[in-house]
Amino acid sequence: MRRFALIALPCAWLLALFLVPFLIVLKISLSDIALAIPPYTPTLDLSAGWQGIRAFFSALDFDNFRFLATDDLYWKSYISSLQIAFLATLMTLFVGYPIAYGMANAPDHWRPTLMMLVILPFWTSFLIRVYSWMGILSTEGYLNQLLLWLGVISTPLTILNTPTAVYIGIVYTYLPFMVLPIYSALERMDGSLLEAAEDLGCSRVKAFWLITVPLSKTGIIAGCFLVFIPVIGEFVIPSLLGGSQTLMIGKVLWEEFFNNRDWPVASAVAVVLLLILIVPIVLFQMNEQKSREADQ
Amino acid sequence: MAQTVFEPWNDPEAKPLIQFKGVTKRFGDFTAIDNQTFDIYEREFFALLGPSGCGKTTMMRMLAGFEKPTEGTILLGGQDMAPIPPNKRAVNMMFQSYALFPHLSVWENIAFGLKRDGKPKDVIAARVDEMLKLTRLQQFARRKPHQISGGQRQRVALARSLAKAPKLLLLDEPMGALDAKLRQATQFELMDIQEKTGTTFVIVTHDQEEAMTVASRVAVMDHGRIIQADTPANIYEMPNSVYVADFIGEVTIIPGKAHKRGNGYDIAFAEGQPTLHSETDAALDNGQTCYLALRPEKVSISAEKPADRTNTVQGRIIDIAYLGNLSTYHVQLPNGQMIKAQAANTRRLSRRDFSWEDTVWLSWTDTAAVLLKG
């Protein structure tokens, strides 16, 4: 009885506020747009009984998905989201790995402080962290002022509202997600392994490639997925830092819903986005499983 | 005043405190306890001894109420325990990890069980103080578990489980986390406390020395069965099987064929070797395979063949294990059979009688060895 109550309450909550809403999205993605409230058809009319249910199901179709496939705005957005997420993940890895490596090799009494410094931005508002780059990257921003003053450039660069700004924003905001798993993998590594490798004739650099990198592999993979997965659906960064030529699917969905008020298409966009996300999520789960087993 | 010997298990009138009746415990396909029937008496210090996975912990968890028997019944004072949940049993347990509540002080840990019974405050305080005194922890009462040493933690766990004055106290590897020196001191302390409180103790351990030291009876377990349950002396001197003989202490097992002669049997163990003779009550068929279990300290070692011993064999010293007060000699017979013999080191090492590769005579009396069927 006690056990039943314990299971039932969180389960009911998640069913009602996570699973059911998602089923509604799925259903609306199969409906058609209409000038009505709510702005789509068909709506389920239970008062019409069995006939109503039959009519409801027969009016559902895949038109919205066909539309997504034909209009190049959508499939280009998906491709470009994946591409941006992939490149940004690689960049975050290149920026994050040396930081994690430096932390793991720092003296013991420094490490809690360094750890706190990496986590601190994570607790600060995401929106503010993205916003802080707007002042830096704009045409009359601090970066251009600095470069002009140094005489590196003679006319201000346009960085804000370009893909470059989006990449900078992503690397900046997602850096802790990359650093922390790699750091925890590196920190667990036994320092005598490197000494053993050098003792057996490896150079420092070779020992790094042959010992350190393979042993931090699960951390690298975890960090990459922790960046890659959320970036695909990212909305704030492309909206604030990217221009009109930066296509990202999260932004498209938002605009489809709020600006065009086309709920069925927005829902279809969401469904396809989820389908795309399943692959990396499953891969991520497998990696986590493997590292858990390795721990035991 | 003659002291009566404490042997309730030999007294047909004595009522056992705990009775296992045909108890079987299965986890899926695995049989942890295999149809066991035995009794434990009041005031006993009963040890369950065996290698890990032999079922001793399962036995104890069934007594505590954390596991239910698949078949059979466990009676406590004649009452079936099955329907009584762990928190209603007059049984307390001292956990292997001690399971001290890290957020509570030593005092609060000991008072925990008493408070659950809703006893008045002054009664609780008096009982906790009594327990602190018993375990010599008075000055640590206000400390948290992580602020005291391992040995002190062990005593807190003991005090906490004894505080409710249970009919039966279960101790799961109580000294597993202590180092060797501390362990010995603690063993005597534990016996002392058991005697003072008169509580029945059931201890689970894989350390045979510990079981022999503390227990009034030792049950040697293997694969979910009790192989032999008896006093430490009987377990050592009269093992009922090769398993028990081998598990407890050092022993040489000599396999052979038995032939009846006089009050015992002649055992032929190798071609060209004289037969060995052993007196026994056991009945064996002629030519039956048997095993002679020989404790090393019962074997004499000499340079000349002794005239007055029944069993004499000649061999070569292969190895000498120097243990300080005594040495164990590993002597190989011509057929390859190894026999261990122990001798006290009454002289200094440099003047030792025997050395490696020496040919020596081993001898023992006709009652020194135990004849076993298997």
Partner: protein
């Protein structure tokens, strides 16, 4: 031995400069006299003054705080229950679905969570406002809480609970008197995480908030879309300051606690 080579020193310096410079610039320029944010015109705190008088921001902050307090508290209760189910309940019908529903919201893009909840609220005719934001925030943050708490529960020594039962506790008392006090740090960090996530959230709140309730991130969003403003710089500085004080205090407390524990353990060895 661990030592700082020039490579490690450089990478740490550059890395942390990258992480902190943008925020430092933001803080410095919040004290800029000029309305032109990128041109320094002398020190002034006037933007803090105008911020305090901006009723819309104050209202939004109040709404955000209420939402965060309510949703993080409910999420902590539900999330802890869910963690107990995940770690302790063993097998039951629908377990896979249950753990799926716990983990899915962690990786679900916010736009989808927001969209689906909005469609639900419209579908059942629930008026959007503070209440719907609380429901939405509770739903996704309870999953984060349950992950934090269940990772603590996995390493929890079950024999502590058995000891409590053995000493006469009911199951509920064993949880209340033994388990909960011991896992409390994880529950508290779960609550803090839920609280921060709620404070921080723009996307889900934008979908589920009605015209009657505007949260601070929504307010900030609508003003920064037009560009950088000194008032927002001032607001950001205040928010960064609060978080920094909180995180640094927390880390000092845990550091001191762990130092004390180490000292205690050393003392115990010699006792």
């Amino acid at each position: 031995m661990r030592r700082l080579t020039w490579f490690n020193t450089t990478s740490l310096t550059l890395g942390f400069a990258f992480l902190y410079l943008p925020m430092i610039i933001l803080i410095v320029y919040s004290f800029n006299e000029s309305k032109l944010v990128t041109v320094w015109a002398g020190f002034s705190t006037k933007w803090y003054g105008t911020l305090v008088q901006n009723q819309a921001f104050l209202d939004a902050a109040w709404v955000t705080l209420k939402v965060a307090l309510a949703s993080s508290t409910i999420a902590t209760i539900l999330g802890t229950m869910a963690a107990l189910v995940l770690v302790r309940a063993g097998r039951f019908y629908g377990r896979t679905l249950f753990s799926g529903m716990i983990y899915a919201p962690l990786v679900m893009p916010e736009v989808i969570t927001g969209l689906s909840l909005l469609l639900l609220f419209i579908g059942i005719g629930l008026d959007r406002g503070i209440f719907t934001i609380i429901l939405a925030h509770t739903t996704f943050s309870m999953c984060f809480v349950s992950v934090v708490v269940s990772s603590r529960l996995v390493t929890f020594d079950r024999s502590l609970e058995e000891a409590a039962l053995d000493l006469g506790c009911s199951h509920f008392d064993a949880f209340r008197l033994v388990t909960l006090p011991i896992i409390a740090p994880a529950v508290i960090s779960g609550w803090l995480l839920a609280f921060t996530l709620s404070l921080d959230d723009l996307v889900i709140a934008s979908f589920t908030a009605g015209p009657s309730a505007t949260t601070l991130p929504i307010k900030i969003w609508s003003s920064i879309r037009l560009g950088v403003s000194p008032e927002i710089n001032a607001l950001s500085t205040i928010m960064i300051g609060i978080v920094a004080v909180g995180v640094i205090t927390a880390s000092l407390i845990t550091k001191r606690a762990s130092l004390r524990q180490q000292a205690d353990e050393r003392a115990a060895v010699h006792a």
